[in-house]
Structure formats: structure tokens, C-alpha cells
Symmetry: C2
Subunit: 210 residues, 2 copies
Amino acid sequence: MRLHGFFRSGASYRVRIALGMKGIPFEQTSYMLRRGDQKQPGYVALNPQGLVPTLELDDGTLMTQSIAILEWLEETHPEPAMLPKDPMQRARVRAFALAIACDIHPVQNIGVLNAVKALGHTEPEANEWARRVNSEGLDACEKMLAGVKGPFCFGDKPTMADICLVPQLVNARRFHADTSNWPRLLEAEAACNALPYFVAAAPERQPDAE
Amino acid sequence: MRLHGFFRSGASYRVRIALGMKGIPFEQTSYMLRRGDQKQPGYVALNPQGLVPTLELDDGTLMTQSIAILEWLEETHPEPAMLPKDPMQRARVRAFALAIACDIHPVQNIGVLNAVKALGHTEPEANEWARRVNSEGLDACEKMLAGVKGPFCFGDKPTMADICLVPQLVNARRFHADTSNWPRLLEAEAACNALPYFVAAAPERQPDAE
């Protein structure tokens, strides 16, 4: 398999973690998002959205949207599981993952920050937008875990929730969000970052890291 | 079941369609988003994100995030199915649904448009932001269906892809996006809107419609 992505892309990071969790080896092709590599015709032919990541299977099949890729990995490589067995527990895990994947990540990605700048705002103003989105979004995520036993987001095993959380916390720090309100999220992050496949997926470990 | 939502909310609309598809009766409580009802303490106690919808089961269990709710409905009420059986086909349907649920809808919702206005921009400028997001996003969705047989997004039955598409097209028109570039999306929409449960879920049919 080949992951078309970028070391700093949170959505690519999710897929790297999940591939590592399932023990699937993969190669990577890197697209420099700031330079707009992902909007070039060659890449848009792979992924009409012009977003990373795209997962390319050995037979050339292309898959897009990180959460759809995670669900496919779970269905085709069930062990170790990233979703619980009980439907209601699965819904809780997915709701947490989607609170990040829908309501935080896409609202602070490079496309949106470029749109804020195109309205006449400065880089610091765009970065403040991103800080606010991370801050408010992860405040809600902290509350979603109230009363849920750790150390991971949902109990004693990492799930799709943790796979979305860890990359988002990296972004939150990059935009100088205050993490001190999130003891439960940080507990889950620490538990994740004790696992080799979370460590291996970290941005600074990727071949394209700056 | 009780759906906490709003007639015009695209994410609430998705859940209304899915409940109708599965033949599940439900009641509704309405939150006027422009007035900020969804940010009041009473509602945030139900849903820490302060977003609609929330689905409340008869035993008081609360579920959030429309896509997580759709997945739960599919797992607990499998017929009629909103996802194909084959994992790769499921991934394609989910990728299309998530291209809307992650990369269009949250980037043009009322929270983001309020944030654009808070940066000093006018209502028409905020609406132009929403038009552009719908326009660019659905252009990519049209391309994602290139070569895929209709009349629905993915073949002869409606799926989660159609359930996300139909509400987004309502939004796209509201923000005056040009729909003429989307013949394939409009074909799917027409096929959906010939089905009674899509019709019943439409914003203008809801008790809180203005």
C-alpha cells in the first residue's frame, strides 16, 4: 500500500496510526500542502477533493477520506479492533472521532486558513482562528469523556477516538491552544504515545518531516 | 425516540431521512440556531458540542454526531441497508458521505459564518464564503461519481451518500451556488426525492419550518 499524505497532515497521521495498529506495511508519497502540491492535476486525478490522504492499494485502487479508510481497515483487518463490539459503544467512539474529524479538523485546515487570509486577514489572525477552533472543539471533546474511564478515550484499549485525538492535539499545540483544560484528553494521549505504532506515526518520524 | 434538531439543519435532515428509511417513528424538539438555542445550558447538557442533532432514545440514552447516528442505525436496524455489503463499496459510499459531512457542511455552518462576521465581514460576505464552500465541495463530489452508474449516487439504491447529498444540495441552493455543473448529483437528488421518506424529511415539511 502507498499512503499519499504529508507528515503534518492530521488526517494522514490518523491513517498512519491505523495502518501501524493493524500491522500493515506501507510506503509514502509526500505532498507539500503549503506549496499546493495537493491541488496539482496529477494528485487531483487521484483524489478529486485535492486533499490528503489518499490510500493506494497494491492493485491501484484508490481510497479517500481518512475516516472511511479507518472503517475499511477495521472491516478488512478486524484485529486488533479500533471499535468496540457493542453498537452503542461504537456510536460513542464514532461520535468523539467525528467531533474532531468533522467539527475541528476541517475548520482549521490550510484551505480554511488560506480563505481567512484571502478575506484580507494576516497570518497571525488566521492562526488565532485555528487556535480558537482547536480550543473550543477540544473543550467539547474533554466534556464528552466526563465519567468515562481511561486511560484511553474509551477504556483500556485505544479506539478510533484516540486515533483522531492524538493528531488533533499536535495541531492544537502548534496553534498555541491552552491544553491545561484537558486533563482527560492528555491522559489518553499519554497512554497512546506509550504504544510503538503511535510513536512511529508521529509527524517528526516521517521521511518528509521538515 | 426524540430528535433534537432544527428544520434547516443539514445534519438533522440526514438523521430524519435515515429514521424514515428504517421506518422508525420519532418526535422532534426544535432549537432555533440563529437565536443560539443550541448553546444554552439546557441543551449543552445533552450535547457538549452545542450542535444539532442529538438523538434521544426512549431510555434517555443520548447520541450525537449525525454520521455516528447513521452508522448506529445501520448496525441496529440493518434493513433496508444504507451501506453496500462489499467493504470497498462501503468505503466509497462513506468517502462521498464524509466529503460532505467533514469538508463541506462544517465549513459553512452557522458557527463558521458567525466567525467570519466576527472578523468584521458583512452578511453578504459570509454568505459568499458559504456559496464558495458548497460550490467547490460539490464540484469534487460530482467528480467522485464519474463513471459510477445511477440513478442514486451509488447505483440503484439510496445509500448514506444520498442521505448526505440531498440536504447539502438544499444548502447549496440557499447560498446561490450554481448547480448546473452537477448533472450527476441532481440525478441522484431527483431519484431520492421520489421516495416518500426523503420527502417527509425535507425542511419545509417539519413542524418548526418558518
